[in-house]
């Protein structure tokens, strides 16, 4: 089965005053239709930039693609013309971001913005734009689909009148307006309270199942990833450290960074497990460490790690980029 999304050897850098920051260093990732994939990593790992690259939302310059390809539905994203790109954004890939307040225009009502989006998708997909009342009805249907109460009345409200959870649902509704095949959610619940987060994550999970969507969920929170994703990719400083089935990855992490990450998170259900920090700090991407980017902080580092960049290989049913991946779990 052809993968829905296929990223091969993707390398991205940002050119700035201080030089060139190597933000993504050879990413290989493929996502099958219907998969729920989570990308987890900390600041500087490149997960958000990678997600934005899929829909070509990264400004170039200062960004610069140094190599590799991204294929969506078999088509090379960087070779798309403006029509194909307009169809990709919304109909192929839909994105949900972290802070709904900054992604909704405060001077327009929710209904006005949704009608805009719906009609824009009509045009992008080559249909005549439907009249506003039809678009409004479609908007109300979408708001109902995200379980918002009284959708008709909500259309006339303004973003600042809604709570954080409601705004995020509106964003999800807008993302669904284009009938996307891939839903990319970048930290969708980070700004929300924990009880609201549970509601919104549950909603995303149900919508993905109902509509047969493929989900790419990005988060620094292992709990969020664990709730929705069958497959997990762990990123560190622009590289993929480990990629595989969620159950086994959480149970028997093979990459030292994954192990460090799991050990660093406090767990309410295991109170005797004290959060243990990973020594060292995230590398400077202007001058990343040679070889494996994690080696300065790695408890298992050997001389080879400083000279030879580890390529991902099959270990325990997963892809792990580590020279010593076979060693004790």
């Amino acid at each position: 089965m052809t993968p829905l999304l296929e990223i091969s050897g993707y390398r991205l850098a940002f050119d700035g005053f201080e030089g060139r920051a190597h933000v993504l260093d050879g990413i290989d990732l493929s996502v099958a239709p219907g998969e729920t994939l989570g990308i987890v990593g900390e600041t500087g790992c490149g997960k958000s930039v990678l997600a934005r690259s899929i829909a070509r939302l990264v400004d170039m310059p200062p960004g610069r693609v140094l190599g590799g390809t991204i294929r969506f539905g078999g088509e090379d994203v960087f070779a798309m013309d403006s029509h194909a790109l307009a169809r990709l954004r919304g109909h192929g890939v839909a994105m949900i971001f972290q802070d709904p307040m900054t992604f909704l225009n405060p001077v327009f009502s929710v209904g006005a913005q949704m009608v805009d989006v719906i009609r824009a998708h009509d045009r992008a997909e080559g249909r005549p734009k439907r009249p506003r009342c039809a678009a409004r009805a479609a908007a109300a249907a979408l708001l109902a689909a995200v379980r918002l109460p009284e959708p008709e009345r909500l259309l006339d409200r303004y973003p600042h009148e809604l709570s954080g959870g409601m705004r995020q649902r509106v964003l999800i509704a807008m993302a669904l307006a284009g009938n996307p095949r891939l839903l990319v959610a970048d930290e969708p619940t980070t700004a929300l309270d924990v009880t609201i987060q549970a509601q919104v994550l549950r909603l995303i999970g149900e919508l993905v199942a109902e509509r047969g969507l493929t989900l790419l969920l990005i988060s620094h929170d292992l709990g969020v990833i664990g709730a929705l994703c069958r497959r997990v990719v762990v990123m560190y400083a622009g590289t993929v450290a480990e990629d595989g089935d969620a159950e086994t990855l959480f149970a028997r992490p093979r990459h030292p960074y994954t192990r460090g990450l799991l050990a660093a998170v406090p767990d309410l259900a295991r109170p005797d497990h004290r959060a243990r920090p990973i020594p060292g700090h995230i590398p400077n991407l202007l001058d990343p460490p040679p070889g494996c980017r994690f080696h300065p902080r790695c408890p298992l580092a050997i001389p080879r790690c400083a000279t030879e960049k580890p390529l991902p290989r099959e270990v325990d049913g997963r892809r792990v980029a580590c020279h010593r991946a076979e060693e004790a779990a």
Binding site: G164, T195, L261
Partner: protein, 312 residues
Amino acid sequence: MSGPLLEVQGLAKHYPLKGGRVLRAVDGVDLSLAPGESLGLVGESGCGKSTVARLVLRLIPPTEGSIRFEGREIASLSDAALRPLRRHMQIIFQNPHAALNPRRTVFASIAEPLIVQGMAGADAQARVAALLRQVGLPEGFLWRYPHELSGGQKQRVCIARALALAPRLLVLDEPTSALDVSVQAQILEFLQELRARLGLAYLFISHNLAVVRQVSDRVAVMYLGRIVEEGPAARIFATPRHPYTRALVASVLPPRPAGLPEAPLGGDVPNAAEIPPGCRFAPRCPLRMERCMRDDPRLAGEGPHRVACWAA
């Protein structure tokens, strides 16, 4: 020293709004903190925990209530009378990126408390360097500006600044929420070690229950300006008695593939300007009874674990 370090009774902060309504950010809170103890304050947005932090430090004046620090009443003191007391209690903020003046060097920021309290001498530089060492930062950082530091480093500078006057109480308002997971673990470990070494008392505010569990001896759960449950940390999270606490604990996502969360609590975070009569959690409560809509429960219970609920 005998007696509690901090004792708060009937604390309230009300903000008048247009149209005669009142925003009751904090509406009757009782707290006490012993020297060297760590009390965790948890709740979601709008519960008033950040306001409690600022009231305890007298950054804002309370509308009602008493705040006693080391036995001395500070609720109604003037700014001038408070100044000498400020040495004993300090605060760490959530967002380290905004907690340092971008135009001042690290040295200037850490030395500020010393200068303001008239304690900076010829050896100010030496003392600031010692504080930097205490938080694990190299001396070369003295002359750097905040924008050159990472989030974790900035938070350490803030901690050094808070320690400059040797306080006895440290209020920490979501100190690690804006930081990466591994950095958070570093800071938490450091904070615990610091407390053990210096005998500080912590008022630790967070929405992250797992973090609070690790750092606190006792925990108080807040909802809409009141404390609804309080007790020893282990007990509260193992056997929560208030329906809201149970919902909070159930909403926490464990770092494992655990499937879709239960989402036991429907509805939205409430508005502190429109507090319902009776128990303020009743509109969302799965155990709601008739009595709950009329009578407002108070914290009750024998022993250290107390709940404000008719159904508990």
